[in-house]
Symmetry: C2
Subunit: 238 residues, 2 copies
DNA sequence: TATAATCGTCTAGAACTATATACAACTCAT
DNA sequence: ATGAGTTGTATATAGTTCTAGACGATTATA
């Protein structure tokens, strides 16, 4: 059950198993985990080791221990459904968590062949490029690079800087609604940049999602490549 | 770059970073890795720690060290492209590796609502259910549960037992070609069953892929849920 | 052949992880 | 109020990991 000698501390493995139990619904928000003594017996480890694992979970805000009472689930990993209208803030709020984000970088630059194709532009046409991160309750969930046709959305960066919302920025540019035209999902291993932006260890699993959003006339308005912390998110399709 | 105090040994992190470098093409098969001294300098660790990482890679068959010469890539993680025709054996052979697999279990049983829907059957209609694992060069890559309409493929288990190939089994049942009708990709954490079948530690990343294959008339012929060892596979879409 | 480069092995000490035992402090049920 | 259950803290020991330094063995190059 627990691997030893493989370079992953036993406490870490216990911590991850418990976290998986929260993600798969075994223990929902507010649920009481088994006692330390019980977990120690189950995992066949010393109670101190279990405490270390629980401490890790507590440090990450996933559980809260109450002396004499037990350890309770504060929040489970985020379920991130991909559908026609995928709106980060709505998803996070719907799970009683507070969304926030950061604009890391903004440039106006010529579209690369990949971006040009996705946005149905000629390579070299100007696009607005934004790098952003997304948090739930202050915990990094994803970071992304997005590209927008510069001609149609010249103020994208300014509005996003102000509002922190793509939906708001699109609305300000006259796009009242938009839908997901295309999604590609892959599994990656966190590199140094992921590690920094998502506050995870290099080598941890990362879900990479490439997508194109279109307005209701079918014109592409956004290409994005997002990388999610695989330990913090469960992606569902449909 | 390297996280300390997070329960993942430094050597393990170095090992995983090097493995990622092999996966993303930085070092292809046969390529010579940087020297131990160089890697120690780069990672800011003791050479002994680097040696531990390389030892791990060698133990897993990914590299081969030659004294006085260097350390060379034996093989990189498997790149697993998902497309209209996704055939495990072809993918593995194309990467100069030897595919193999095991039939773990076979039953004829009534279709669950999920399977029935995917195969356009009524719940309770009989399906052939197979549990299989897939290996490359003897290393477990994935395990899967598949379901087939029993009426159309009554001999699926027997033929698969003989040939170890779904493609061959379909052909024997008169389906000369089939395509991927639907794919759902998620990231999971390895549970006890994954750990056993994939020979990985519980808690390691697992890529879960639910799919439906159809014949060329669009009739669903197979539902499958596969779980890939995230450390051994890179999934690409398209 | 000699030299430089590189992996392999060895010894030693410090830091981290895991186990064991015990007691304190708090919560909850009776 | 009392007792049982549970988390919190402390001390000690053993095992593992990481660092450091040195030398041996093999390979590659001039």
């Amino acid at each position: 059950m627990l691997a030893r000698g493989k370079g992953i501390a036993v406490w870490r493995q216990v911590s991850e198993i418990l976290e998986a139990g929260m993600a798969d619904g075994t223990w929902g928000r507010g649920a009481r985990l088994p006692t330390e003594a019980e977990l120690a017996l189950r995992f066949g480890v010393n109670r101190h080791t279990v405490r270390q694992a629980l401490r890790d979970l507590a440090d990450r805000g996933l559980v809260r221990a109450q002396q004499g009472s037990g350890t309770f689930v504060e929040r489970a990993p985020l379920t991130y459904p991909i559908g026609p209208r995928t709106r980060f803030s709505d998803i996070v709020v719907a799970q009683a968590r507070e969304p926030s984000g950061l604009l890391l970088a903004e440039t106006a630059e010529p579209a690369s062949p990949l971006v040009a194709e996705a946005l149905r532009l000629r390579p070299g046409e100007p696009v607005i490029r934004l790098e952003t991160t997304r948090h739930a309750d202050g915990v990094p969930i994803s970071w992304a690079v997005s590209a927008f046709p510069a001609e149609r959305f010249p103020d994208m960066a300014a509005v996003y800087r102000e509002t922190g919302s793509f939906t708001a920025a699109f609305r300000a540019a006259g796009v009242a609604d938009y839908v997901r035209a295309e999604t590609r999902i892959g599994a990656r291993i966190a590199d140094a940049l992921d590690a920094e932006r998502l506050e995870i260890a290099i080598g941890r699993p990362v879900i990479e999602i490439d997508c194109v959003n279109s307005d209701l006339e079918g014109r592409p308005i956004q290409w994005a490549r997002a990388r999610f912390a695989g330990d913090r998110v469960r992606v569902t399709v449909g």
